[in-house]
Symmetry: C2
Subunit: 216 residues, 2 copies
């Protein structure tokens, strides 16, 4: 009843891999790229340092696996949050909620530290860049779907704005993490919401959903 599937027989291998990835995420979040050593990650994972190399070949590969994990989890989560948003204001709401979650979980910190650390390790930059491209694409899709109904559609290109959103997201995370204070970022989301509803008002109420919402 064992080793019947394609999965290798040994017990706990996947658990160890997961623990190492989790440890890498936490290490990047709390100690940065420079502090995310094989020894530190293994300590957090509760296993031996050599397992980093057994399972991932190198520390760099493990860090990239951590970035993959975060990217996949985020993509699914963003998708769900954004699909619920019907207008620009709701999109800002979704962005704020997701921003706080990411901040707590250290997801954006992983991204930021990997970008900053890419300068140190030859060949790492393109790998990181390839894993960021989907984020930009996703932001572009979300913005494109919402901006089309507003007067901004003529002056704002979704992919240009998406680049700004990703950059802003990154910068806000770094500043918030630096001084352990996210109130400045939250104030910004609040203002963005005001601007969003202002723009929505300019575009005029669409034919659907005139006010009260009734189920047919």
């Amino acid at each position: 009843m064992k080793a019947v599937m394609g999965r290798p027989a040994a017990a706990g291998a996947q658990e160890t891999r997961d623990a190492l990835v989790r440890g890498a995420i936490d290490a990047l979040k709390e100690q940065g790229f420079a502090g995310a050593s094989a020894r530190e990650i293994a300590r957090r994972a509760g296993c031996n340092q050599s397992l980093v190399f057994y399972h991932f070949g190198s520390v760099t590969n493990l860090l990239l696996a951590a970035l993959d994990e975060v990217s996949a989890a985020r993509h699914a989560h963003y998708q769900a949050a954004v699909e619920r948003a019907t207008g620009l204001g709701e999109l800002v709401d979704a962005a704020e909620a997701v921003f706080e979650e990411d901040l707590d979980a250290g997801h954006i910190a992983v991204l930021a530290e990997m970008i900053a650390g890419a300068s140190a390790t030859p060949g790492l930059a393109p790998e990181v860049a390839a894993r960021i491209a989907p984020w930009r694409q996703f932001a572009a899709d979300a913005l494109g779907g919402v901006l089309s109904d507003t007067p901004l559609s003529g002056v704002i290109e979704p992919d240009v704005a998406a680049h700004a959103v990703v950059a802003l997201y990154l910068g806000l995370e770094m500043l918030a993490h630096l001084d352990g204070d996210r109130t400045a970022a939250l104030a910004l989301f609040a203002r963005a919401r005001e601007l969003a509803v202002l723009v929505e008002a300019l575009s005029g109420p669409p034919e659907g959903e005139p006010g009260g919402r009734e189920k047919p």
Copy 2:
């Protein structure tokens, strides 16, 4: 004819300090926080590794000195560029010009790497944060002076927007540096300029400068 002033007698001391600071800036830019070691910096400065500790006490102190140097140079330069801008559109122009200069000189990279690296070294975060506060303040002043004449003055608070500007600046630098391509950032500045002149048009032409500019 020597050692008459308050300056210590020895020759070339200040030159060495400057070379080390310059080496630290370049190392942070090209190899990141993790690659900015005493040995690497000294190699770039063309001197011995031990001089880092003689002049600055520790690598961390040298990196902070590099951040100080960049901050001071930037502040003076921004001031001059912003004072020339009379409207929102010209402010965007100034921001773009300064952004490219900073990108080339590695100034923002120093900032970004120090923020990212602050997680690795205990006690570094508040030091870095203290050196960023003036940037935010400066952006707030520049925005406050320009926004007051536009319809945005009611919905945008200068210090909130300043935080966003600093964060965006940081994020754009990181992304541009990551894939060695600043076209996405430049496209963003182009769109921002369009939006700026659009807002300026909404606020109506002010009494001064109706069109042609004549010297009285």
